[in-house]
């Protein structure tokens, strides 16, 4: 790679050992990816929580922070394992509370903004069209590229932190305009969008991700008034069964005003798919991993619930009671929790026997300690959440719509498709 004088100085350790380590990581990564140079970035987002870091990862961060290493770019952080305000009430074991204090301390010392949220773009980390960024977590990355129009590769946390410290990232992949052209055409004209739930959008993403694989899809004939919840449902799930980083939603994606623009001129798809209602129905059966009808926990929020989703759940739940042998959790960010209190939603949910849980998510955050509290079978209104909760932390999972999950919470038994 060709480095600037500033980058050479960082690599030589002239700005301290943390910056030297950061530059070493970026150069190795850049050379592995055949990048020719570094480019400046304006936003970073870090993903991993204790589930993947483990003790050694926390120690690595502490070592990096020694000598006053700081990020030079605005950096936010994905959810952790529990709601910091309610940790004792939720019976989070002390071990996890102590390790979280260490993670808090080291991230703050590095200058990371402690959002503990995966909708960081709704609460302050919002780049613009064409900005170069480094966002870990495949869901965040595909949202940045496809809805915001900012440019991020699928970078891991070490690369993201290194980029945040050095302020640059290797130029390759989706940072380059020529790699952002559509490759596969998905005709969505055969779907009845008016009748589709957010869960249906996820089931569609699950089904199509397997076909699209690592190609960049172009969705044509979509209604332009899709809600942010439905857009996220489709995009975040496409990254679970496929490895896409950019999805052109024609009429929504800033770079895809037309099908031609999405393909960068000539519309020459590698192949074409017609999305059909059957795709959706079949996916439901594949996403759930449980056979057990008694449900211990009904959990919402992967990605974390927006305030609109909290409102929907509160309306469905109002006047009912969560079954005494089932828990109901709504995972979100601290500010949506605060908003929910202000709007009276928190009280409605609490009265019904459910709770709003901030700082964590329904994918894998709480599942290191929940089994210790007797939670084994989990219903999640997120296909992505089902996948990670089952495959990373070994939970028994059910996938269904928000309505099905609320019914399940009330009866204590799975009420969705099986």
């Amino acid at each position: 790679m060709k480095l600037s004088q500033r980058e050479e100085d960082l690599l030589d350790g002239k700005q301290g050992p943390g910056a030297k380590k950061a530059m070493e990581i970026l150069v190795a990564y850049g050379e592995a990816c055949d990048a020719e140079r570094m480019i400046p970035i304006i936003s970073t987002h870090m993903a991993g929580n204790y589930s993947v870091l483990m003790d050694e990862g926390v120690e690595w961060l502490e070592e990096l922070a020694q000598g006053g290493t700081k990020v030079s770019v605005f950096t936010t952080k994905n959810p952790e394992q529990f709601d910091f305000d309610d940790a004792d009430e939720l019976k989070v074991p002390m071990f996890y509370q102590e390790v979280q204090k260490r993670i808090d301390r080291v991230l703050r010392s590095l200058g990371v903004t402690l959002t503990y949220s995966c909708h960081h773009y709704l609460v302050g980390n919002l780049p613009r069209l064409g900005d170069h960024i480094a966002w870990a977590s495949s869901g965040s990355q595909v949202y940045a590229n496809s809805v915001i129009g900012a440019r991020s590769n699928r970078d891991g946390d070490h690369v993201v932190l290194a980029a945040a410290i050095a302020g640059v990232i290797p130029e390759w992949g989706l940072h380059l305009t020529e790699n952002r052209k559509g490759q596969v055409l998905v005709d969505a004209g055969g779907l009845d969008f008016g009748s589709m739930t957010t869960a249906d959008f996820q089931a569609l993403g699950w089904s199509l991700g397997k076909v699209v694989a690592d190609k960049t899809p172009v969705f044509a004939n979509l209604p332009s008034d899709l809600t942010i919840q439905n857009i996220k449902g489709l995009l975040y799930t496409l990254t679970v069964t496929g490895s896409v980083g950019l999805v052109h939603l024609v009429g929504i994606t800033p770079e895809a005003k037309t099908v031609e623009a999405a393909f960068g001129g000539d519309v020459k798809p590698v192949f074409t798919i017609s999305a059909k209602p059957e795709n959706i129905e079949k996916a439901y059966k594949e996403i759930s991993s449980s056979r057990e009808t008694k449900v211990d926990l009904v959990i919402f929020g992967c990605p974390q619930c927006t305030v609109q989703e909290v409102q929907e759940i509160a309306e469905l739940l109002e006047g009912q009671k969560v079954n005494s042998e089932t828990r109901l959790w709504i995972c979100t960010s601290q500010w949506v929790k605060t908003l929910s209190k202000r709007m009276g939603l928190y009280e409605i949910i609490k009265k019904a026997g459910g709770r709003i849980v901030a700082d964590t998510g329904a994918a894998c955050g709480p599942y290191r300690y929940l089994p210790e509290l007797g939670v084994r079978v989990v219903a999640i209104n997120s296909a992505r959440g089902n996948y990670y909760a089952h495959n990373v932390t070994g939970m028994d999972t059910w996938f269904g719509s928000t309505q099905e999950l609320v019914r399940t919470a009330v009866s204590g038994r799975w009420e969705g498709r099986s």
């Binding site: 380590k21 070493e24 990581i25 190795a28 990564y29 050379e31 592995a32 990816c33 993903a47 991993g48 993947v52 870091l53 483990m54 003790d55 050694e56 990862g57 120690e59 690595w60 870990a136 495949s138 590769n153 699928r154 970078d155 891991g156 946390d157 070490h158 690369v159 495959n391 990373v392």
Partner: protein, 135 residues
Amino acid sequence: MRIKGKSVCGGMAEGDALVSKMPISFTGGVDPDTGRVREPNHDLEGQSIAGKILVFPAGKGSTTGSWQFYATCKRGNAPKGIINLKAEGVVAVSAIITGTPMMHQLENNPLECISTGDFVRINADEGYIEVEKKG
């Protein structure tokens, strides 16, 4: 037999080769406590990568793999050296943060000219490997 290639992370390592024809994910795919490959139906399933010169096509899967590789290394269960056909980001970063010597883009296909059990020496500072066929 000496084969030239490109270095991803410098340093020297030597040991017995463990060769896989399949990509490896360090998140979910390898147990940090034992170094054993635990991905069902992987061609190394049940075998330990600890202390080996690990030869495989490339990394795959979650970008959190570099956290898991780091823990595997600190627990004494990482390979001594890595040889890939063509490195991708997750394994390249894993090698750098642990100081594991790593080479890729060799002049000859390492999956064909190295077999499990061969003795392999990596000199990633000078950009070559040496292979002594077993028995």
